[in-house]
Symmetry: C2
């Protein structure tokens, strides 16, 4: 389709998938940008993603005050509500009927790869059925698994939470030694779990082991790894992705859940079963008495106040740029974040085709995973550290030993 400019109509924006603490930055960035463009008349927000389009549950975002917009921008979780839903062709047709009634010509969908798939489907169906629509996906996911992107908005803050959680838990484990297993979000990509290592500062700091979904998880190897660390350090902190799978690709957690959403994803979060399973394995295969497991859970994507400033800023920018591109450039696409070469952290933003980010998952590259498959590499630390902001200061006594008498 050729580039068009000056398309006049109303705008509809919505949020989809798991929330992040900066997803509203993207929303507010898009709304504020839209106000600058005369071709966009009304700015509607749909409640709970495409569910709100089908049910005509719209709010008038153009009437929200600047003060409210700024407060919402700093607030975690999807301010418009979210949904996990993949539209069928007949649902797309129903949505276009609604959009026609409200003269919606600009559509923005903020979310991860499933949401990008939804935007892609909506865009394809609009073209196929001749409904004139500019359709953009705005990236968001703590999983950091969108193709085309160096990293995704939401990851930096999620990674900051995970890094801080492990910094604190490492100190807790140092005070009361034992084996501590923490389950981290990330269905198919290990980035968020890998972020557990970002706060390591002293030689003996945990996590001492990091298990990612990019490598097959072997129970015997896991138990042997933990035994080895425990023998050396007298304690062991382990970061485990909720998405770890066996050599056949079956998620280790799959035995404990039956829930599947319409994108085909099995429920992994919102349960402590995987952590308890792994703790049980260590208890049964070793003689270590103190074994504990926590599942970091939804706090990773919603805890207020633990925000990476660079992440918040980039989330705002992708929202702004999606609107700017839709008005003045390509009729559809997604905004991708690229990192500029060089020692100093800097990014650029680029419009990419919807199909390039839809559905598919970007995995951790081999260069970020150690040979044993149980830790990250310094290359990962260099990659991820600029994304999380300055981490809390951790002090430790020099510990001048007193000679025994």
């Amino acid at each position: 389709m050729a580039k068009r400019q000056g398309l006049v109509g109303n705008m509809l924006i919505a949020q989809s998938g798991g929330p992040t603490v900066v997803i509203n930055q993207s929303l507010v960035g898009a709304v504020c940008e839209a106000k600058k463009h005369g071709v966009i008349r009304k700015i509607y927000g749909s409640r709970h993603g495409i569910k709100g389009i089908l049910g005509e549950q719209f709010i008038d975002l153009g009437r929200e005050s600047a003060a409210t917009l700024e407060k919402v921008a700093q607030t975690p979780s999807s301010g418009l509500g979210s949904v996990r839903k993949k539209p069928k062709p007949e649902e797309c047709a129903a949505m276009f009927q609604v959009m026609q009634k409200y003269d919606i010509r600009y559509f923005f969908y903020i979310g991860g790869n499933d949401s990008a798939e939804t935007a892609h489907i909506v865009n394809e169906e609009a073209q196929r059925t001749g409904y004139e629509l500019r359709c953009y996906h705005i990236p968001k996911t703590i999983d950091n698994d969108l193709l085309e992107n160096d990293h995704t908005p939401g990851f930096g803050s999620g990674a900051r939470f995970v890094a801080c959680a492990f910094m604190g838990d490492n100190l807790d484990n140092r005070a009361l030694p034992g084996v501590k297993i923490n389950i981290v979000m990330g269905r198919h990509a290990g980035y968020l779990t890998a972020a557990a290592a970002l706060g390591r500062q002293f030689d003996d700091d945990g996590p001492h082991l990091v298990y990612l979904p990019e490598r097959p998880f072997d129970v015997e190897k896991f138990a042997a790894d933990v035994k080895g660390v425990y023998a050396r350090r007298g304690r062991c902190v382990v970061a485990v992705s909720e998405g770890i799978s066996d050599k056949n690709g079956t998620p280790i957690a799959a035995a404990y859940t039956k829930e599947v959403d319409s994108h085909g994803n099995v429920q992994l979060s919102g349960s402590g079963a995987l952590g308890d399973l792994l703790a049980g394995i260590i208890k049964s295969k070793t003689d270590i008495s103190r074994v504990r497991a926590d599942t970091l859970g939804y706090l990773q994507r919603s805890f207020p106040g633990v925000v990476s400033e660079v992440d918040a800023k980039e989330a705002r920018t992708v929202g702004q740029l999606a609107v700017r591109h839709a008005v003045t450039g390509d009729p559809n696409g997604s905004i991708a974040i690229r990192r500029k070469p060089g020692a100093k952290y800097a990014v650029s933003f680029e419009r990419v085709p919807l199909r390039n980010v839809a559905q598919k998952t970007r995995h951790m590259p081999d260069a970020f995973i150690n040979a044993a498959g149980n830790d990250v590499t310094p290359a990962f630390i260099r990659y991820a550290l600029p994304l999380v902001g300055k981490l809390p200061v951790i002090g430790r006594f020099k510990g001048y030993a007193v000679a025994r008498k």
Copy 2:
């Protein structure tokens, strides 16, 4: 025992029980105060509480730089390491032999009611066996369950974490509705679980239900409560104490664990079993499809950066005052925090006898729990809000509804 002054000797300080994010403030407060008193010569720290005394694992805290001390003060978890151990009389005798060798005449033990019990035992045994020792307990516990105290150091920051966690999780649940159950620490006292309510701002904010160990937990009532809220709100966020027990006093989580420490405490934390059990109950007794459970876990006591300033300051003060009292006042005791009457938050500190805080648990008063036993009262909010510091700002769209076409 009469008051004595001018006792010259060395000082030993140690930490015990579960860490907090401000326990090192108390440690550093005591060390800095000790440096001001000529009668205290050396300042030793014992590794891992009384275990380090029995094993002569001491470090020379007097040699740590001011910069290191300040960094450690701001660092979560017990900088000297911790332990859960109740000393037997023969272990006390062994400890006095060690103390004698190092000429220790001032002993400070930072911890909760179990640690106060340890300090009390050490003090009684010292008097019984004629070992001259000034012995103080310095209060610390996120559980907020020490007698004699209006509140305890560590609670304000733990409560801040829990309040923030529920603020974020409430927004998450609002975006993706369903039932969400979060398990909060607190073995016998519900204060920390009650803190889940401190961030409520809008009428429909969760937690919508709060279950405390002070009231018997009834599975049928729980399911009916959740169904009622879900019917009214289309969602339900629930705060549950890890220590909830049935009408016979048996912890609901007890069926899932066998571990008991030397103070007689059953392991409740470090497992997701209770949350998963409660989620299973809701799934089986209702037709609500999306039911999730998280266990907030050790993050509540160790997450860096989420600190209540008033809590940090008070933790510092109780450390200072314990040393000051030991040098110039009663030979033993514990420092208690009292709240001054009046609308503006202010506290005073008082020395209380060790036996008054040892072992026993302070529970939530009836005035803090609603009649139905499933929420806190405004009196609790007034009590606890000054302790957690200013909470993060939460914004919400006015949500000007667009008329359906």
